[in-house]
């Protein structure tokens, strides 16, 4: 028996083929969840990083507490805290806020957004702190206002420096999003769990899900390589 026959005997590839549309929907769901959380999280992270760097302790401290909490606890527990925990304070069947928190999809969005915003805040804070003093002084000497300095000098160079670390964060978020399947959302992992329980085919179901995630991971890493190539061109050694 050659290798191909052995594989075909033990691997039920038909299970995957038959459920390909469902996997595709899962892929769309995963990408959608991760993308929306990342965009909102990034928008939150920039002002939060500025507050976190404030010299006023009463401004910086709450932001520190926020990032410490969300970076020090598992995303799974954060999701549970929002999905199961909110019902302790609001009537989920009465108000429109209740309807929002009753929906696993929105709960996952909130949890993922708050989580990635906390990590991204620290990434951007670190990058902003590294801004060379001379650049800020030069901007001041040109008569730029604080906001002009911020938008023209500090932010663009901080974003550049943050790029490699942010790439890691995006990959972490993608992998972290797999827990959405635990609260009934049909993302890639959710679909894999359904396929497994319906056909009792753990290898096919989860390995195919793993391949989809791996493809997305490589896509993200490749995209960031392109961005780095473009935006960090001035740091490359001249050949």
């Amino acid at each position: 028996m050659d290798f191909k026959e052995v594989i075909l005997q033990y691997v039920d590839y038909k299970v995957i083929l038959d459920n390909l549309p469902m996997y595709f929907d899962g892929l769309v769901m995963t990408v959608q969840l991760v993308f929306i959380s990342l965009v909102i999280g990034l928008c939150m992270a920039v002002p939060l990083a500025v507050l976190r760097l404030s010299k006023n302790r009463w401004v910086a401290w709450p932001v520190w507490l926020y990032t410490y909490f969300f970076r020090g606890t598992p995303l799974l527990v954060q999701l549970f805290l929002i999905y199961y925990g909110m019902g302790q304070f609001i009537d989920l069947n009465a108000s429109s806020i209740g309807a929002f928190f009753k929906d696993a999809y929105y709960c996952a969005l909130v949890a993922f957004t708050l989580n990635t915003a906390a990590y991204t805040t620290e990434i951007i804070r670190g990058a902003m702190k590294e801004t060379p003093r001379g650049e800020i002084e030069a901007a001041k000497a040109y008569g730029m206002s604080y906001f002009q300095t911020f938008y023209r000098i500090i932010l663009p160079s901080a974003f550049r420096r943050a790029l490699p670390a942010y790439c890691n964060e995006v990959v972490f978020m993608l992998h972290g999003s797999a827990i959405a399947g635990v609260v009934t959302i049909m993302d890639i992992t959710g679909v894999a769990r359904v396929v497994y329980s319906r056909f009792y085919t753990p290898f096919e179901a989860f390995i195919f899900a793993g391949l989809l995630y791996m493809m997305l991971t490589f896509l993200i890493v490749w995209a960031f390589k392109q961005l780095e190539h473009r935006w960090l061109a001035h740091l490359r050694p001249r050949s």
Binding site: P74, F203, Y213
Partner: protein, 230 residues
Amino acid sequence: MLGLHGYEASLVSGAWVTLQVALSSLFISVVLGILTALAKLSKATPLRVIGTLYTTVIRGIPDLVLMLLIFYGGQMLVNVIAESVGYEEYIDVNPFIAGVLTIGFIFGAYMAETFRGAIMAVDQGQLEAGKAYGMTPWLIFRRILFPQMMRHALPGFGNNWLVLLKTTALVAIIGLEDMVRKAQLASGSTQEPFTFYFAVCLIFLLYTTVSILLLNWAERHFSASVSREA
């Protein structure tokens, strides 16, 4: 205190399980990490290929998917093998072992990258000198490589540990009674899920804070030879 309705002892026992899972998988990941780092730096091509394949594949797949694969897949495999040797009864895979093996296996890949960088940072000449003195490879590793690489490995190691600690929450999904699972059970019967998940968060924060303090101490300890403080 927090109004835990008498579930304090249950949460504490769950917290102990979480710690056991974390420390056991840390041990596996460090051993795997050092072996893989050495494999990736070795002159033998097959070893390098295996090492690279392992670290690349693992870091491309979410930990939960790997855990489900190893737990459910392992379950099936164990039973198929048991059946083929004539064992009749159904075997349940222990979720503690499945969880620890999976987390150890995953973080072995991350540790490998950390240790690879650390090993490369150690002066090659010192290893050659050890060889010239007639030391065995194990003696060179123990006396020269390990003490010096730890200084370079510590920051990455610390990061991996903090991530690993939080990853242990996933074992609740495969049914292990860690503190997340205990909180699930307690909130089911008290209808106060927020209270219990928040308590779990506080315990995780406690673990994280203690870890950071210990890591800072260790960093000072392993940098004693190069630090300027008296």
